[in-house]
Symmetry: C2
Subunit: 439 residues, 2 copies
């Protein structure tokens, strides 16, 4: 019997149809939905109509988007047809669950055309509109995002902005907001100041809506750190609840200054797990602290407290099975990375809503959180090297997340074991300068 995540229990195929004028953050929203669902192992993909259009017309000018430009209208409709066909093929051939049609879809006529296709293909249509009349947000979007769009590649930025505003005006002439109460939709007004939810029927839709209502655009950052080196790290044992090693305690002493240099005077909250090594690591930090059971290390079940050498010896088949599929492998009586992601989902939801947070946690947990923000695949995330005694800063931006690493100059053992390598534990400390995040 397969193990299911929070959001994957209905046998549905959902077509999310983005609606909104240009520069309303539609693609950003679509990208975030795909990242969130993919992280939860729900097959999701975005089909951007603009990309298909650009295959036909490299640098369209605003006049291309005029409602009475029949040639432009014909080409734009063809692009929509191509994107939709690809989406339907993806649903069928790759067992897609949530496909997103990313385009303005700004008229009732266009939306009815999509509804018709959904009906024919057995897809549940869910409209997501981003509606905004705040000029500041719109100009910010135009400058930050749109003038970097492939449509304006190599062109004068000022001219691009002018042209783009013209393009928006053309869409505005025919724009019709969502108001058909028979449809399933979520209308996000002024980046979430108000949200209208209509006829949300399924759990999957309600998860998407809940995710959308938690997104915010206030600037903030998330800091991640593993606990300092522990006594179990020294002996090469996994799991357990050991104290910090002397070098681990040095890291705890140094952490407040590392954090202060990166955070400055901004407010910060520290989250730890319930295990001693993370709480000891955070003990000197002068910020409010919360302990979460959900941040505890991946449960290694019967192997808890063993070294990799002992596991290889006592459970050779499990050791190999884990190497073959580390994401799915579940320790007997313990957890897999997939289990861990499900356990971390409420943490991610809360992180999306929060301001500045520092999380002091464990290797596997940190890999999963990092994978969410950096969109790392499930093949790769369990194998990421996350060194000890290193503070990682994640800054979410419009198109991706910036990473900064700040290393404490305190040596530590490496707890990283490469796929297929022997289980031999190396107790020689490495200075952090020798360690690199392989990202």
């Amino acid at each position: 019997m397969p193990v299911y995540s929070v959001s994957n229990v209905e046998d549905l195929r959902i077509c999310v149809v983005m609606v909104g004028l240009p520069a309303r953050g539609k693609s950003l929203i679509a990208t975030k939905i795909v990242r969130y669902l993919s992280w939860l192992s729900i097959k999701a993909k975005c089909f951007n109509v603009g990309t298909y259009r650009r295959l036909q017309t490299i640098h369209p000018s605003a006049s291309f988007f005029e409602p009475d430009n029949t040639e432009g209208e014909k080409l734009r409709r063809e692009a929509a047809v191509l994107a939709t066909k690809d989406m339907i093929r993806w649903f069928e051939e790759e067992n897609g669950v949530v496909g997103i049609l990313d385009a303005t879809n700004s008229t009732v006529e266009r939306r009815n055309w999509i509804l018709q296709i959904c009906r024919e293909e057995g897809l549940e249509p869910m409209f997501v509109e981003s509606w905004c009349d705040d000029d500041e947000i719109i100009m910010h979007n135009i400058i930050e995002v749109k003038t970097r769009s492939p449509d304006y590649e190599g062109q004068d930025p000022e001219q691009s902005v002018r042209d783009f505003r013209e393009r928006i005006r053309n869409y505005e002439k025919v724009y019709q907001t969502l108001d058909d109460e028979s449809l399933t939709y979520c209308k996000i007004i002024n980046v979430g100041a108000q949200v209208i939810i209509n006829r949300i029927q399924t759990y999957m839709e309600s998860r998407i809506v809940y995710f959308l209502t938690n997104l915010h655009i206030r600037p903030r950052a998330i800091w991640l750190s593993r606990h300092g080196e522990s006594m179990f790290n020294l002996s090469g044992q996994i799991g357990g609840d050991s104290d910090l090693s002397p070098r681990g305690r040095m890291y705890a002493e140094q952490l407040p200054e590392l954090v202060r240099q990166s955070v400055g005077d901004a407010p910060l909250t520290v989250w730890t797990s319930t295990l001693k090594r993370t709480q000891q690591t955070a003990s000197k930090l002068p910020y409010p602290k919360l302990a979460w059971k959900a941040l505890d290390e991946l449960d290694s079940g019967v192997c808890d407290g063993m070294t990799y050498e002992e596991i290889e010896e006592q459970y050779p088949e499990d050791f190999k099975a884990r190497d073959d599929n580390k994401y799915e492998y579940r320790y007997p009586g313990g957890e897999s990375y997939r289990d861990l992601v499900i356990r971390l989902e409420p943490i991610i939801m809360q992180l999306e809503r929060q301001e500045n947070i520092l999380i002091v946690t464990h290797q596997a947990v940190l890999r999963c959180i990092y994978a969410y923000f950096m969109n790392v695949s499930q093949d790769q995330s369990p194998w990421m090297e996350v060194p000890l005694h290193t503070l990682i800063k994640l800054t979410p931006r419009a198109y991706g997340t910036e990473v900064t690493r700040i290393k404490a100059n305190i040596p530590a053992v490496s707890t990283f074991r490469q796929k297929g390598s022997s289980a031999k534990h190396d107790a020689t400390p490495q200075t952090t300068a020798e360690l690199h995040l392989s990202l």
Copy 2:
């Protein structure tokens, strides 16, 4: 460091202000919010203005509610003052987190008065409006709920309905729906067909909104069963991943017929944990099945696989500590009931949205799910007796949940140990007829 649940990380006191005409399900919504938050260990309480009013006027007639009945208006305002004062005292003396003012609060004037109080007392106001123009729903509410209200105790039902409709008309004359965009509010239209969310700022508010959007009123039931008797049950060991005993297998054989008699031809989905004993128990059921890691038994950490006698011998202090506070006690390397509730929260959220579900799970998990639906306190829930080989049916109704127990006539050992009792395991099977749920 205290361990926090999903929803308890901001240092806020929230005043939820219900808004809506009579018979719009306000009290039901308020009760559900309180039950949900209390289950998550978030201190929440409802202050029903009608209760305070009834202290003054036992059976008010509709004319009491006429807008120009100055005496009535005065008394209703006094009742609101008393409820609000009690709420403020509760916030201060009992460290309340979410207080709910349950009244019609149907005018801007009345709401401004509450806003003023919130400002003075440092409370975050959050309005929750139930708006409904579906006559069928309203009449259903009036007949099912309101004519059973203390206001109409001992009166002719038909006369009560007439009087109540008159009372609603009096409120309608002055009713003003929420539309002030500067307020934090959630407006539920026609029992969730549409929901408008405005200026939701904090995570706690977003949790309440998410909960509200998952509620539905379609009739359904939830069936609960422990796995059949396992080999570990026979030997008195806890945890582990053992197979069913011969009697447990008999229960698995009989379960389809028990379920069929209770469910009839209605559609059903079966949820199990990832452990063998629940999957073996469900193996003969002819319905779609899903396995959830979140439904696995409470993790007993270092005590996994031990008998209570062994735990008492090897960890006498832990054994006693668990008796003293079973809800908070966490097995070394394992979980507490509090941890379990946090792990189960997404399951509850999904249950609220779903139709008919049968959950085959474990003693502690079943206690927590049961505690949610039956509003059982944290003192009592870990001590509830949940016998083996018994199917429990929960039917949520407007004011509470109905319970039906269906016993398979297959004996099983009792795994129930009373507080303060010795750790002695009794391997004598009891017929289920001797067992009783102490609820």
